[in-house]
Amino acid sequence: MSQFLRAGIRPDRWFAYPEIEWLDPGEIQADALIDLRTQGNTLSVFEFDGTVNAERISIAVAAGKQKPDDTGYAIFNRAAVEALGIEVKKDPGATADATVNGLHCNLNVKTATRLVALAQVVAQGTTALILRKRVEELVRTGIESGQLESSKVNRDLRKEL
């Protein structure tokens, strides 16, 4: 099944009932929308078909941040996204991992209404967490192996590592 991955999320924003008791079943927290910040009404995601693992995609994104941090990702159904009428546009990514860049897409969400509907789709998928220490390890080994192009890794992050 073809899926999308959204990197750099905070999994706790996606806690739902019963983790968040005051939420009705099927509802999501408003804070979840923070993880779906659009730019030019589009949302940056990656195709996820299993050929490149989710951790590698997440690390590619994390390598562009200022500092090592816990990071999360969400994997959700592509067909459900397209059913919302959201246009999917392939667009080369700008991470430090060339392979991951080839998976990058922009979702042309256009409207706030669609964004909320998209959030529901994301919430029905799965979320995962990578701890900060693991992020540090993976960025470091990624640079050493050449998987991450060192010059494209955030300079502040490189200093911290």
Binding site: G8, I9, R10, P11, D12, F15, P18, E19, I20, D31, I34, R37, A62, G64, K65, Q66, K67, P68, D69, D70, T71, G72, T127, L129, L131, R132, K133, R134, L157
Partner: protein
């Protein structure tokens, strides 16, 4: 050690404590007490008193007046949550803060919320003991300190009203900030500055703001993640213990942030606390995250 009450009521002093009950509990009673959905029952802020005597609802209870705390005439404890530690057979009443007040000893009626709890605990013949984290000398020093001026070199500093306000201002300002993974927030910079200036007292002030269920979860999560990464050796133990206690917060997002803070500290000392919290955690997704941290800390060990 001596202590005498003054005419002017001194400010409360916060002492980290843990209240542990022994014996006489059974699984069915605890399950009935805590409800079917979770083993951690949040109890709205209340005040209770402890005794070595058997608990009976409605009975005014006295705090123990022996050992390290014998010179403090009255103790009050904010009750945070009740936990049933099945493997150890212990009932634990977490008290995020134990507040010592310099007033004459007096029977204190249980507040409604706590009374309700004890009504439900009718069948629990539990004996309680009080285990303060800080020793008596420490506590005495704290209770005698009525100044609003704190030094970052004094790890025993209590939060002044001024400092609580300072942290509160940072919390309020942070409500308008968007927190992003891997990006240092202005809020964390503000907290860092307060920590460097006020030391452990800043952590205690933060604690006072994070514990209430009304805390903005986005800001609270950011503050707890920061607690784990703060570069401040003097407050390290205090921060670690606060994060460990928050593993039992009634708020799942707070528990999540607490375990991330612990992971960031990467201190195997926290391993028993995270393991224990993992066993009590009612939600699968959080258990997965707790397990990640257990795995990390085991590797450190």
């Amino acid at each position: 050690m001596s202590f005498s009450a003054s005419t002017a009521p001194p400010e409360p002093v916060r002492v980290v404590s843990e209240l542990i009950g022994f014996g006489g509990t059974d699984r069915a009673t605890i399950d009935a007490l805590l409800g079917p959905r979770q083993r951690t029952a949040p109890i709205s802020s209340g005040t209770t008193q402890m005794s070595f005597a058997t608990l009976h609802p409605g009975t005014p209870l006295d705090f123990p007046t022996e050992g390290a705390l014998e010179n403090f005439p009255s103790l009050e404890a904010d009750v945070g949550a009740l936990h049933w530690d099945e493997p150890r057979g212990l009932l634990t009443l977490d008290s995020p803060t134990l507040i010592l007040t310099a007033v004459a000893p007096r029977p204190m009626p249980l507040l409604h919320s706590t009374q309700h709890f004890f009504d439900r605990a009718l069948s629990l013949p539990v004996r309680w003991s009080l285990t303060p984290v800080l020793d008596a000398t420490t506590a005495e020093q704290r209770i005698q300190d009525s100044s609003d001026v704190f030094s970052s070199t004094d790890p025993l500093s209590r939060p002044s009203n001024f400092l609580v306000r300072e942290v509160s201002v940072a919390f309020t300002a942070a409500a308008g900030e968007v927190f992003e993974e891997g990006v240092e927030s202005q809020f964390s910079q503000a907290l860092e500055s307060l920590l460097k200036t006020h030391g452990t007292a800043a952590v205690a002030a933060l604690e006072a703001l994070v514990f209430p269920s009304t805390a903005n979860p986005e800001v609270a999560v950011e503050s707890l993640k920061w607690l784990g990464t703060a570069d401040h050796g003097d407050s390290r133990q205090h921060r670690r213990r606060l994060l460990e206690r928050l593993l039992y917060s009634a708020n799942a997002r707070i528990r999540y942030a607490a375990v991330l803070g612990i992971a960031a500290m990467d201190d195997a000392t926290s391993l028993p606390a995270v393991r224990s919290a993992l066993k009590r955690e009612p939600h699968r997704r959080l258990r997965q995250y707790f397990q990640l941290v257990v795995d990390q800390l085991e590797a450190v060990q």
